[in-house]
Subunit: 274 residues, 2 copies
């Protein structure tokens, strides 16, 4: 749901509202997505496509003695990530580099682990990205991939208009070469490039009025905010007209009211190189 | 996904292939759906719409000293349930009765707990069913509701044809007055009838080639078998033609191959009466 290595294909843009959305999202989701990611003291970890550092902070909190190298192609995102991490006690464990996922400035076997979160979804050829990342992993090193799947979204009350509005985001991302429904295919994707011990763990988000933190933090501030962020590109690409867009967003917001519910699935995959 | 109290609206029919499918389904899903349902020794539990007893056996295994009363409107299903439970060591803890959910032959406050699984989805007015069940619960008694949500289904490779075939099942169920997408609305449904402490816990099923038990037990033997069981009614209702049906089923089976994945969400709700 964020930072790609190809700015031209990053459907969400790079504004400050987007940065706020990403921070809200990461806080709400951190426990769900990252609770089982721990790197040992001294382990060398590459975070590829770190964006504004939203996930970096949570990785660091869980592995304060690992050594992180965080790369992104976008200088402004990296500056934000540096600022976000700079104030933390473990900041010295992290180095940042402006770098392209497809032309990594590291020798083979430079890292014990690779971590990529909300990155592959934006790439036209995620297989090539995985192969590039595998090349900088030491033998036996691990890779962790976290992606969403917008096609997993369902909610109550059901609304075709809202579903079509979400579909705009999927189509806009596809227009840039990405796949917003990539989560469901992580297992075959990682298997096909030759990774071993591929294990996929779905992370289901469910929000109803008994879970106000999820309604506010996820349904409203993460998901609906993300869809709303694609308004301009969706209209520009002619995927929808203004009226249908507004109606779809209104219906989506209906799912965040007291008698609504909202469901979304993330996928977390882990694997090893030989 | 099974036994309703209204035979005329039970989309899956009552044949023996259906009974085999239900047993396979219950075995595969038992741990996921029932692991956290335990009733204390002596607790009086009403299982409403027990069907062929597929869930009864798992309830009994987890609460061998509770006293179960299992009802269904369909005599042939009840006979199968009696036969299935009869051989178990705790069989004496279970009594069966042919009874209608909407005209329960029990005085008020007869039970400490009510359990309903894959029943509300088949009813035109699940609110009335819940009210009838609440009436036979003692004050403070609990109700547990488990339902699927066919609209939660997604898979890889994605196929519109397969999605439309699943949609036939949803429409056929709606034709009988039911709602195959009821899972997502359990929270508002249970809240609206006046139940307290309503908590909904989604149970996500994910199958890929690293989880052969789920591919075989769920994707193939539960879900696809269920969809295939709705072929006749779907054709009869004119929801689809034979060619489109066969293509949809073929695409659905594609998701059970080595590079496919399959996802489905059940919802388990618990609540109390005042």
């Amino acid at each position: 749901m964020r930072g790609a290595s190809k700015p031209e294909s990053y459907v969400h843009g790079y504004g400050s509202a987007e940065a706020t959305r990403l921070a809200d999202q990461a806080d709400t989701l951190a426990e769900l997505l990252h609770h089982d990611t721990h790197y040992a003291p001294g382990d060398r970890v590459l975070e590829a496509g770190c964006g504004v550092g939203a996930q970096t902070m949570h990785l660091l909190a869980r592995s304060p003695e690992a050594l992180f190298t965080c790369i992104d192609r976008e200088a402004s995102s990296l500056a934000a990530a540096r600022a976000a991490v700079g104030g933390l006690p473990a900041a010295a464990q992290v180095s940042f580099a402006e770098a392209d996922l497809f032309r990594l400035p590291f020798p083979s076997a430079s890292f014990d682990h690779v971590f990529v979160c909300f990155v592959l979804e934006h790439l036209a050829c995620p297989e090539d990205a995985l192969r590039a990342l595998m090349n900088v992993l030491r033998p036996g090193g691990s890779i962790t991939v976290i992606e969403g799947d917008h096609g997993s979204t369902f909610f109550h009350p059901h609304s075709e208009k809202a579903q079509r509005t979400i579909e705009c985001l999927v189509k806009a991302q596809a227009h840039g070469g990405g796949d917003a429904n990539i989560g469901r295919r992580l297992h075959p994707l990682l298997t096909r490039v030759g990774l071993r011990e591929v294990r996929v763990s779905p992370r289901f988000v469910y929000a109803d009025s008994s879970r106000p933190r999820w309604v506010d933090g996820f349904t409203n501030k993460t998901f609906i905010a993300m869809v709303e962020g694609a308004r301009e590109v969706s209209l520009r690409l002619g995927l929808v007209d203004e009226k249908a867009w507004e109606e779809g967003i209104a219906d989506l917001k209906r799912a965040a009211l007291d008698d609504g519910t909202f469901c979304y699935t993330f996928f977390k995959a882990t694997a090893r190189v030989d």
